[in-house]
């Protein structure tokens, strides 16, 4: 072969291997310091007394001897179970309407059904107080029962957990094999039997997974019970009360450990189910298409739009409440609640902080999480490290926000911790939020990466191209839709979350969601509603921008995605 003009390799392989190892170690360090060590610090704290001496399980003994605390376990379980039944039932019917009927306006319904995700969980609670509270227009519907307590909690949680369940069940019900239904029809099987023998078994994994997701979200939620729980205490509010109200950090740690258990349990069950769920559908499955059936279609349309109506009513109530002088005595229009002048919570500064947090988490989190998933999925060597990283990436799903936030106090606020300087900065809020919502983004990344040809990296290596070039020129552009999904997910969650960050802000880093809490606590209900609406609108705008951007990008990418 003639003397090659293309012979100077740009990167020496040993350097490349070294860089690969360094970033892998950095990724592991991120989750060790951002997740494992704080959790460990919390476990240790639950076994210490106030002066920091080891006292074994004495705190737990004390916990179980205090009826006011133990009651919360039963309360939490009751509320979570009820919410699970309500949400899963409704979401199943609506998902069935979307996927298995010809009901009109499916797209509009799906858009409306997503709205609750864009609001902090505090928003429905505030609206419910306006609707069913002592001054509420619909108070009489409750027939003398108070909205403050388990009824309000279940209603508020159902509102904001509903979209999660709907998305999971829609996905599960979309996978169908028309051939099975045709076979059943050819055999003269009645409709109800087809449903029991084909439809239900087909979605059983999705359904079980949905039940556990809903249950976990319900038992760990803090926002709804905080606003509307009244005297009805649950585990999440107990953590807050012990730490913020009574400065009893040890007992806060004990409640956290107890709160961790159902979440870890449902995490384990969910993982176990995911493992068993191997391609139920063969590649040759023919998707089932519904045929029009007016009675069924309109029944489901009625049901779905009732649900959509309730969603709009709840959001609309918050918007309305934020725009009038003083419910219910002075209904004239005003924008004064949006000035937040002289009130608790930090006002527009808090909103700016939230924006800063959300953008930082979206930017940093997307890159870090996607790149880490790439390291796990697409690189060779250091198998134990990569497996350990994957395990740690799955863990945050099992850690409730309250627990993670408290764990951060224990770890980062320790005297003598070299990372102590982080405490009270925006950086710790970014780190905490990134870790808090790590798992879903990780799974989205892994799914996107698994769809790529497994040989891209091998081709790059054979052409002597360093791995970061192949990552930036091929892997990242091809996975762009998933990457955008991750970034908007992180943005919205950073905007709306309250549970973890409620322990970590300081006077310079107040957040909008925490401001809602404080405005409500201080009795400025209209301003609390205004702040919640502000968060909702911010998320909505970003979500719409994301949709538009995705649309444009996909249109451009159409050049190579489709033939042409």
């Amino acid at each position: 072969m003639r003397a090659s003009i293309f012979s100077a390799p740009a990167a020496t392989p040993s350097l490349e291997a070294l860089i690969r190892l360094i970033v892998l170690l950095a990724a592991v360090a991120l989750l060790v310091f951002g997740l494992l060590f704080p959790l460990f610090a919390m476990l240790v704290k639950s076994l210490q007394d106030r002066s920091g001496d080891f006292i074994g399980l004495a705190n737990f003994v004390q916990y179980f001897q205090t009826p006011a605390l133990v009651n919360s376990i039963a309360n939490s379980l009751r509320v979570a179970f009820t919410t699970t039944v309500v949400v899963a039932g409704l979401a199943f019917l609506c998902a069935y309407g979307i996927t298995r009927t010809c009901m009109p306006g499916k797209r509009l319904f799906r858009m409306l059904a997503i709205l609750p995700i864009l609001a902090p969980s505090l928003l429905p609670a505030i609206s419910l107080v306006y609707l069913f509270g002592n001054q509420g227009v619909l108070r009489d519907v409750l027939a003398g029962h108070s909205i403050y307590g388990s009824i309000g909690i279940v209603m508020g949680m159902s509102f904001w957990i509903f979209p999660h369940a709907l998305m999971l069940l829609t996905t599960a019900l979309t996978n169908s094999d028309a051939r099975l239904y045709e076979a059943a029809e050819a055999l003269g099987t009645p409709k109800w039997r087809t449903f029991l023998t084909i439809t239900l078994p087909g979605v059983r994994y999705g359904l079980i997974s949905c039940l556990f997701v809903v249950f976990t979200l319900a038992i760990t939620d803090f926002g709804v019970p905080k606003i509307i729980g009244g005297q009805f205490s649950v585990l999440a509010t107990d953590v807050y009360r012990q730490v913020v109200g009574q400065q009893n950090f040890q007992m806060g740690a004990v409640v956290s450990v107890i709160l961790l258990m159902p979440a870890v349990l449902s995490f384990i069950v969910d993982r176990w189910i995911q493992k068993r769920q191997v391609a139920q559908l063969s590649a040759r499955a023919v998707p089932w298409q519904p045929t029009p059936s007016p009675l069924r279609d309109w029944t489901f349309a009625l049901l779905c739009y009732s649900v959509a109506g309730i969603i709009l009513l709840v959001i609309g109530t918050a918007v309305y409440a934020s725009l009038i002088q003083f419910w219910p005595y002075n209904l004239s229009f005003t924008l004064q609640h949006y000035t937040f002048q002289g009130l608790a919570g930090g006002g527009w500064g808090a909103w700016f902080n939230s924006l800063k947090l959300a953008f930082s988490v979206a930017l940093v989190g997307t890159l870090v999480i996607f790149f880490n998933a790439w390291l796990i999925e697409k690189s060779e060597g250091y198998r134990p490290l990569r497996q350990g990283l994957h395990f740690m990436a799955m863990l945050p799903m099992a850690v409730p926000g309250m627990v993670l936030g408290l764990a951060y106090i224990f770890f980062f606020n320790q005297a003598g911790n070299p990372l102590n300087w982080l405490y009270g900065t925006m950086a710790i809020l970014v780190l905490n939020t990134l870790v808090h919502f790590y798992t879903v983004c990780h799974l989205t990344s892994v799914t996107a990466l698994k769809q790529l040809d497994p040989e891209f990296e091998a081709v790059g290596a054979s052409l002597k191209v360093p791995f970061w070039t192949t990552f930036s020129r091929v892997t990242l552009p091809v996975s762009l839709p998933a990457v955008l999904d991750i970034s908007v997910y992180l943005f919205v969650n950073a905007m709306t979350t309250v549970s973890a960050v409620v322990f970590l802000y300081n006077s310079d880093t107040r957040l909008a969601s925490v401001a809602v809490l404080h405005l409500d606590e201080a009795g400025y209900f209209a301003s609390a509603a205004a702040m919640a609406v502000l968060i909702f609108l911010t998320s909505l705008v970003v979500k719409l921008l994301h949709t538009a951007l995705t649309h444009v990008l996909l249109n451009n990418a159409q050049r190579w995605r489709q033939a042409g």
């Binding site: 072969m1 090659s4 390799p9 191209v465 091929v474």
Partner: protein, 374 residues
């Protein structure tokens, strides 16, 4: 490196290594996945400029061996020497090879030009040189004018050729092809087979191709490495592999082969039922059970029924010849014989007919009884 800058090679059966110097020496390479041994002590020399095929059924270890050569899989033991340099422990980036995968692995978001230039860009060659090189490569694979298309707009065969151009762009010393044709339909496959072979002969680049398709291996390779269960069964030219299979496995895997149960006899004979047939020299002691292998096209049929004979139980029309299934008369065994179409008229071939059978000694080979067949 010497190149044969001539038109495509037509015959390959006589192909000899173009140079006595070894391009790649594989020595004692073993690869285990847990308790499973994918490669067992593989030793092989590949000469400069040679086209070698790894052939075998799926799971025989051929792809693992290719990936080990590329550095995409790390061997458990053994060494690899490429042009005198020990590459055993080097990562893929530090080895000198280009690779084409079964899936092509073309970058979907890059144009044909950018795909081919992918390895050139990195070397900071100047733009004009890259343009010229890409144009040259696309001309080589008959795709001039497709520079600005995206892979999704190309047919499977075209995508495969882009992958080939991309692999050749950086002038690797070794070209690795991992089942490059198996995703294509039969007609394109035949055409591309010829094109790849011609290209390889022109460039003189040492090439290793993995395939499970024996026809592909026979038509393209200078030498074939037949593998089974992680070991090399035989290395040889296509003619050697076909005519002198080293084991019953190779005999059965390549082409069609009759296996008859016989008893070995002295003086290079074998007892088939009650009839003693001459065969190629063998080492089996008198009286030992063995199997006699003979290709259907070597079996001669005649009207005279003295000696070995059989009844025609089936006739399959295959165009140029007819494949006749015979039930042997003095032993309960079956035999396939290929009769050229013009001979079948002379024989008056029909079902139920009894025909004399001659097994030429130079085409009858003995293998151990019950030995491995595919």
């Amino acid at each position: 490196m010497q190149t044969t800058l001539t038109s495509p090679l037509t015959a390959h059966s006589a192909a000899k290594p173009l140079s006595p110097s070894a391009h790649l020496s594989i020595d004692g390479v073993t690869k285990r996945f847990g308790s499973f041994t994918a490669l067992d002590n593989i030793a092989l020399q590949i000469q400069e400029g040679e086209f070698v095929c790894f052939l075998g059924p799926s799971g025989c270890g051929k792809t693992t061996l290719l990936r080990t050569i590329a550095g995409l899989a790390q061997q458990t033991a053994g060494s690899l020497i490429q042009r005198g340099k020990d590459i055993s422990m080097l990562p893929p980036q530090a080895r000198d090879f280009g690779i084409v995968f079964q899936s092509y692995a073309l970058f979907p978001n890059l144009t044909v030009f950018d795909n081919v230039a992918y390895g050139l860009r990195n070397r900071r060659s100047d733009r004009a040189m890259i343009d010229a090189r890409v144009a040259e490569l696309l001309a080589l694979v008959d795709l001039s004018g497709s520079e600005h298309k995206y892979p999704a707009a190309l047919s499977g065969g075209q995508q495969q050729r882009v992958a080939l151009a991309r692999a050749l762009a950086t002038e690797p010393g070794l070209l690795l092809l991992d089942e490059p044709l198996s995703a294509l339909d039969a007609r394109v496959r035949g055409h591309l087979r010829h094109q790849i072979k011609a290209l390889q002969a022109r460039l003189g680049v040492t090439t290793i191709m993995v395939t499970h398709d024996q026809e592909e291996a026979l038509t393209m390779a200078d030498r074939i490495v037949v593998m089974n269960h992680g070991v090399i069964e035989q290395v040889g030219t296509p003619a050697e592999i076909y005519h002198q299979p080293a084991s019953a496995f190779v005999a059965s895997f390549i082409g069609t082969m009759n296996f008859l149960e016989v008893t070995a006899q002295a003086n290079n004979h074998a007892l088939l039922g009650t009839i003693s047939c001459p065969c190629l020299p063998h080492v089996y002691p008198q009286g030992q059970a063995a199997q006699l292998a003979i290709r259907p096209e070597s079996v001669a049929l005649s009207a005279s029924t003295t000696g070995l004979s059989g009844d025609v139980m089936g006739i399959e029309f295959l165009g140029a010849f007819q494949r006749v299934s015979l039930s042997l008369n003095n032993t309960e065994q079956w035999l396939l014989a290929d009769v050229p179409s013009r001979d079948s008229a002379t024989l008056g071939l029909r079902l139920g007919q009894t025909l004399g059978i001659h097994l030429p000694a130079d085409a009858a080979r003995l293998y151990p009884a019950g030995s491995n067949q595919s």
